[in-house]
């Protein structure tokens, strides 16, 4: 049977139950190499980021060279190989937000958290990210705090939200 040929002989790196989500996605796509991006999406949403073990596991399972898997994982902005903080703060830098002042919001957040976009505070509390456009330009400038889209953002409201997460804001 063709399905047997495609089923890989590799076991997940450890007994973590979240691997089951990853293998389910791969099975649903018949372990086709084309499903790499879908599989990486599932892996990242299960583990929060892409670990080395995960990349190796996916590479062997989908019969793709590790270099290809690594290449795809680093090409797309959404995939991250670094663990993320407890909370995430995304500031939109789309054109509408840009001309309505989102750079000053970002600057204020950088100033109080001492991290740049793409970085996480040393206490692993907050990850600061920037977005190219969230598509909610009607509410510019906007940001996303732990998945919640917030429109008409101001520097002070942004820092208030960080404070709520217990972020040390002077």
């Amino acid at each position: 049977m063709q399905a047997d040929v495609r089923t890989p002989q590799i076991q997940p790196p450890d007994n973590d139950k979240r691997w089951r989500l990853v293998t389910t996605t791969m099975r649903r796509h018949g372990y086709e190499s084309d499903s790499l991006i879908e599989v990486l999406h599932t892996t990242q949403s299960a583990f929060g980021f892409l670990t080395d073990d995960a990349l190796r596991f996916v590479s062997v399972s989908l019969r793709l060279p590790l270099s290809k898997v690594y290449g795809v994982a680093t090409f797309y902005n959404l995939f991250t190989l670094q663990p993320q903080g407890e909370h995430s703060c995304v500031i939109c830098l789309g054109t509408a937000c840009y001309i309505k002042g989102s750079p000053s919001i970002l600057a204020k957040i950088e100033q109080v958290t001492h991290v740049k976009p793409g970085e996480t505070t040393p206490d692993k509390k907050v990850s600061l990210l920037m977005a190219r456009c969230l598509g909610t330009c009607g509410l510019a400038p906007c940001g996303v705090f732990d998945g919640e889209v917030v429109g008409n953002l101001s520097p002070s409201e942004a820092t208030q939200r960080l404070e709520k997460w217990g972020e040390n804001v002077e």
Binding site: E32, V72, F75, I99, K100, C137, C142
Partner: protein, 548 residues
Amino acid sequence: MLNETLQEIVGKEREAREQFSHQIFVCAGTGCQASGSLQVKQAIADELAKRGLQKNCDVVGGGCRGLCAAGPMVSVEPQSVLYQKVTPEQAPQVVDSVEGSSVGLSRSGTSDFFTQQKHVVLELEGKVDPERIEDYLALGGYEAVFKAITTMTPAEVVDQITASGLRGRGGAGYPTGLKWSTVARSRGEHKYIICNGDEGDPGAFMDRSVMEDYPHRILEGMIIAAFAVGADQGFIYVRAEYPLAVKRLNAAIRQAQRHELLGANILGTTFSFKLDVRMGAGAFVCGEETALIASIEGKRGTPRTRPPFPAESGLWELPTLNNNVETYANIAPILNHGADWFAKIGTEKSRGTKIFALTGQINNTGLIEVPMGMTLRDIIFKVGGGIPDSKRFKAVQTGGPGGGCIPEQHLDTPVSYESLTQLGSYMGSGGMIVMDETSCMVDVARYFMEFCMSESCGKCIPCRVGTAQMYDLLDKITKGEATLDDLAMLERLCDVVSNTSLCGLGQGAPNPVISTLRYFRDEYLAHIVDKVCPAGVCKLEQTQEVLA
């Protein structure tokens, strides 16, 4: 007319609707949800239950009404009253208005914003629940599919689309009928169709709204397209930043499968078509069709040279039709109302309507659909309501990072693919960002260059290296460190990068610079020679020795 099973659903649904004397639609799009529309919907439902009116009045999470800045929007039918900025506390007043009393809520719907528009793609006016196929069917949904695959031949469908004069809404404006007939003629073991929902242009959100509000309308367009070109599988490629659109499209596909509108033997015919959603992962370049195809194949999203065009060799090297979300959304209205009806809207070469995302320094930010040929002045000052705080209009940016800035003296230009290109801009997917006197054009050019530089995939040298060099030069100008030689170098680079880059990203990257240099050269000179930023945006270092 639909087949019997679907007729039955339509009948039941319409009957169920008649039970309600009134309907309240609360916008459930991303924008209004961010303004708290789901809480408003819940509060209205609670209020109705409290008064025992839930059997007379239905509350529906509907689609976008366009005026996102005034969200959450609530409309009451059949009176067609539209309220803006509704809060959960105002729920009793909304319910009062159902009972006929006039209330002191902020009303909307009579202004130029609404009366000057022409809705084709958005003709359902948000009065449909995107998560229920029954709702869409009751409003005449999927009749175009039924008409196409049971009464027409594929060639007749292509002819209709050609006759309508529809052109690609992704920006380039390639005639849709011509594209379809090329794919229909191509030979391959399989054929694929793709819906490009990778709306990457910052400041553009038309496709997000259409995917969120009318997922079935896109499915309908794709099924007809697949039938016309002979494709048996399709993909909707949606950017990962639009989770709600992904969710609603997936739900719509499942519902359509359940009703034999997708899958094997659609509506009992021999035509079969399978449809899947593929999620992007945050790469702007994937909006380019060959890069998008690579991404669907699970690879890095890098473009390749054309020809061969995807119409001959696309996904897995088989003939592939690739259209934008808005293009597919135009298909069902064309078949329902006829190609002649569609061809009467718009200008001679650009027919139909176009959805624009109107944002920036403008009163009515939001989504508009206007006939092609409307002047930019009407769009900005009538529909858009002009510039807030009595500031002066400076420029409107269209076409995303590959577009340009159009100044006041050209505002009376009718909008069409050709006219915008002539002005050094680009139709693009439909983002329109209005800037007033507080925006610095050099800073805007630098912003777009930074965007292209970091989104360049790195495959071809002109784009990878050229955008970085141009960014450095623009950065120097905004810091007041540049000389006139730098400006000359910048202009030369514009020429090289636009003419030698592999794909649209690199070819378009210099456009913001070229167009701002064309219309706002004095601002560049002010930064370089006088070391001042006229708009007061850039922080220049005032150094006397450079002046001397």
